[in-house]
């Protein structure tokens, strides 16, 4: 096990190095000038030149890269060009909402999608199956922001049972925290839920046609035992895989969801940084997203052991 973990940890190094170089290069090749954005529209050209010099943006590309790389290797992500705050601090401020949103979404999604997929497989070909899979197609088809607007209109504007926007930290109490996450989680999780439900259906359907299921059924097991104790565990590996892959979908989705629901998370941080060319922030957040993705995949590999005891590392 430890060999696997260490090997995978070492494998992250070239991935992160590639991400770092590519992101840095793209950012500096792309048009846009943070100094001009900082200075504002009333600024004179000379004021902009002064700010650019002060921020070191007039240095050659190679010098800027070496400086950034040296600092990053020392664990220093630098300071935001705009707010003058350490990038590490900005990320910590924004981490909680994004982590909370991602975890809540994953829990809600898995809790709903897996039973839906199992039910559809059990009733394969029936109207229940067709209805559930139609909903799954709809879930795929709607963009996150459209789902967000529909949910806001229904549950916040019309029924007035949930807040329209914002985020409340756990310190404000569990209920306010949860209330503010319900709609964003549903909006963000809709396509993810559809994906898991379809994969679950296909995997369970395949297992249901196997001999051991027929034997279990002949022994007189209840439907619940049959589906959740025998079929689902044997169909779990592809489901767990897709849940892991889905984290990438969620990381992409949080950017939109956080903007729609005014949640101050990492997604919004990086979008704002991109629009204003706040290079240190963009680079740091994208590195964190890459690390997260690598480690989620590692966690999924380790989870295979739990869902299928035959697997050994």
């Amino acid at each position: 096990m430890w060999t696997l973990i260490i090997r995978r940890m070492l494998a992250t190094a070239p991935v992160l190095a590639t991400v770092a170089v590519v992101v840095f290069a793209i950012l500096h090749v792309a048009p846009g000038d943070p100094a001009a954005v900082i200075a504002g529209d009333q600024a004179t050209p000379q004021q902009i030149l002064d700010i650019r010099a002060k921020l070191g943006l007039d240095l050659p590309f190679r010098d800027q890269f070496v400086l950034w790389l040296t600092n990053t290797l020392h664990g220093n992500f630098g300071t935001s060009i705009f707010s003058n705050q350490p990038v590490g601090q900005l990320i910590l401020q924004r981490l909680q909402p994004t982590v909370a949103l991602t975890i809540t979404t994953t829990i809600v999604t898995v809790a709903l999608a897996v039973p839906i997929g199992v039910l559809a497989a059990w009733r394969a070909g029936s109207w229940i199956d067709r209805m559930l899979m139609s909903f799954a197609v709809l879930g795929f088809s709607f963009p996150v922001f459209v789902v967000g607007y529909i949910l806001i209109y229904l549950f916040a504007v019309d029924l007035k049972i949930l807040p329209i926007q914002g985020y409340r930290p756990l310190e404000d109490g569990f209920w306010p925290f949860l209330r503010h996450l319900v709609l964003p989680s549903l909006a963000l999780g809709m396509s993810f839920m559809a994906l898991i439900a379809r994969i679950t259906r296909a995997s369970v359907l395949e297992v249901l046609s196997q001999d051991h299921i027929r034997t279990a059924r002949a022994k007189g097991l209840s439907v619940r035992q049959l589906l959740f104790s025998h079929a689902l565990p044997n169909a779990a590996v592809p489901i767990v895989t897709i849940i892991g892959a889905g984290v990438a979908i969620l990381l992409g989705g949080v950017v939109v969801t956080e903007s729609v629901f005014a949640i101050p998370g990492l997604g919004r941080l990086v979008v704002d940084a991109i629009l204003q060319r706040d290079y240190p922030v963009i680079q740091a957040v994208l590195l964190i997203f890459s690390v997260t993705y690598v480690f989620v995949n590692l966690a999924i590999d380790l989870l295979y052991v739990v869902v299928d005891p035959r697997i050994r590392y």
């Binding site: 048009p31 943070p34 529209d41 009333q42 050209p45 003058n84 329209i164 404000d172 060319r277 052991v305």
Partner: protein, 533 residues
């Protein structure tokens, strides 16, 4: 190789629960005041830069008004009034200005406001601001006299000393503690300590998302009633929580439902969502609003020819732009003045083409100049409200016979590219549309967009008459003669077409009826506002 088992993993997973402590990372303790004492608002943008001298961004200017105070301020008639200054004297030769500060002024960290703070603050502001630079170019000395008094001595009499210190728009001459004001003007300050009516709650600041201001209990307001940026800044609430919402529709819904109290910059096309809502007030808050204008690149064809630029004045229908930007007719008016309409330097000189457009005449002028069918590169900032005006601009230019190439880009790209003097085919440009507050262009010294030759803004217009008349205006101390110079200056601007004025519009603010006492002005001032239970 270690054996990896299901039991082992489950045990390890328990440790992950410890990760819940993550939820306390980056959080800070805070009080939870009752909603009555808090105004929750959506600002005009997300505050990322806190130094109003380092940037001219309006969101930072607005932040500045919360935290810092000024020596003088403009009242609702745009007349300078003392603010931090108690008394001031001008010598008979009009060369020496002596200012005394009000007693009892304090910084948010408890220190006393002194004349040394003000001298350092004026110097830092003047290093960045156009009007400040002009003031300093005529200044022989600026020194403290005692703890509450300082003296400014001029090389020759000028007519704008008090106007400069009362400047209401970016960069506003905010007074800062000497230790902050001595920061290099090209470096952002690291502390937000002012003597204004609100304290900046640094620990609650989430850059780009949320800013919290707390009432400064030791602030001593003036006795006069509040009037635009002048008068008594009496604060009636404990806190202002300013939360940036990137989604315009969600922000509107949040106001309609009462989750927020005030929206400083609602999307014009979404105002219908709250029209008719008895709990919501829609009103233009800035009486002078914004001016919109088309910037022309004077270096490259076709706008290097004066005749072609002049044709644009005849071929522009301001109403088309204004209706797009402001929607309701009550919130815009045609305005061809270079230094703002309804302001002291409004002039009618040279405005005939813009106020009486004639498309056929414009087309004929373009044809005569040999520019018919000429390619025009128009930069369109699609992530900015100005995108709407850019589309109208493209259609206007097409109507006049130009071959328009609309190049879509984000604002950050536009502000970089506008600095390029290269020909349009090599990464340059011909035109773009931008805006400014009317008070931000209210005289020849503050209107950076209208400067010419060596001081020219992007577009690089150069007519030496503009430079000479601008200097004469700065030196003139007689208001009547100053206005005569404004007439001449505007006539020259519009004759040489520095840029194309596209009119004036007043964006609306919206707020819940529980709020009262909102002061009209170019920025949203939070003093004087009361919130009913």
């Amino acid at each position: 190789m270690g054996r990896f088992t299901r039991r082992g993993l489950m045990t390890s997973a328990a440790g992950v629960a410890a990760g819940v402590s993550l939820f306390s990372i980056g959080r800070t303790g805070r009080a939870a005041p009752s909603s009555k004492s808090v105004i929750r608002s959506v600002p005009i943008g997300n505050l990322k830069v806190v130094d109003p001298i380092w940037t001219t961004a309006y969101i930072t200017r607005n932040h500045g008004y919360m935290v810092w105070d000024t020596l003088f301020s403009l009242d609702e008639k745009n007349q300078p009034q003392p603010q931090m200054v108690d008394t001031w004297e001008i010598s008979s030769d009009k060369l020496t200005y002596t200012f005394s500060l009000r007693p009892g002024l304090k910084w948010h960290d408890g220190g006393k406001v002194t004349s040394a703070d003000c001298v350092a603050s004026i110097r830092r502001w003047a290093a960045r601001d156009g009007m400040g630079q002009a003031l300093m170019s005529f200044t022989a000395s600026l020194d403290t006299v005692d703890e509450r008094t300082f003296k400014l001595v001029l090389k020759q009499p000028i007519g704008f000393v008090i106007e400069a210190l009362a400047k209401i728009d970016s960069n506003v001459p905010f007074m800062m503690p000497e230790r902050l004001a001595k920061t290099d003007p090209n470096t952002q300050i690291t502390e937000v300590i002012g003597s204004g009516p609100f304290r900046f709650a640094a620990k609650e600041w989430v850059p780009g998302s949320k800013v919290v201001y707390e009432k400064f209990e030791d602030y001593v307001p003036r006795k006069e009633p509040a009037s635009q940026a002048a008068g008594g800044k009496v604060v009636y609430v404990n806190r202002v929580e300013s939360v940036y919402m990137p989604d315009a529709g969600v922000a509107m819904a949040a106001l309609a439902s009462g989750e927020i109290d005030l929206h400083e910059s609602p999307a014009t096309d979404l105002l219908k969502m709250v029209e008719g809502n008895p709990d919501v007030v829609i009103t233009p808050n800035d009486p002078h609003g914004y001016v919109l204008f088309m910037v022309l690149n004077h270096l490259h064809p076709p706008f290097d020819k004066k005749e072609v630029r002049e044709a644009l004045l005849w071929g522009t229908k301001q109403e088309e732009y204004l209706a797009t930007m402001a929607g309701d007719k009550k919130r815009y008016e045609t305005c061809a003045a270079m230094f703002g309409c309804g302001l002291p330097n409004e002039s009618k000189a040279g405005t005939e083409p813009l106020l009486n457009p004639n498309i056929e005449k414009a087309k004929a002028m373009i044809k005569a100049a040999g520019a018919e069918g000429a390619k025009v590169v128009l930069m369109d900032p699609t992530d900015n409200d100005l995108h709407k005006a850019a589309l109208i601009g493209a259609q206007t230019l097409r109507r006049l016979g130009f071959n328009v190439e609309v190049q879509a880009m984000d604002w950050s790209t536009l502000v970089q590219r506008r600095a390029s003097k290269a020909p349009p085919a090599q990464g340059g440009w011909n035109t773009f549309i931008t805006n400014a507050t009317s008070t931000g262009i209210a005289n020849p010294l503050v209107n950076n967009f209208a400067k010419n030759c060596e001081q020219a803004w992007y577009g690089w217009p150069c007519d030496q008459r503009v430079v000479d008349l601008g200097r004469q205006w700065a030196l003139e101390t007689d208001p009547k003669k100053q206005h005569e110079l404004i007439d001449k200056l505007q006539a020259v601007h519009l004759e040489s077409v520095t840029y194309v004025p596209l009119g004036m519009y007043r964006p609306a603010i919206i707020y819940r009826k529980e709020l009262s006492g909102i002061i009209r002005g170019p920025a949203l001032f939070y003093w004087n506002i009361q919130k009913k239970a």
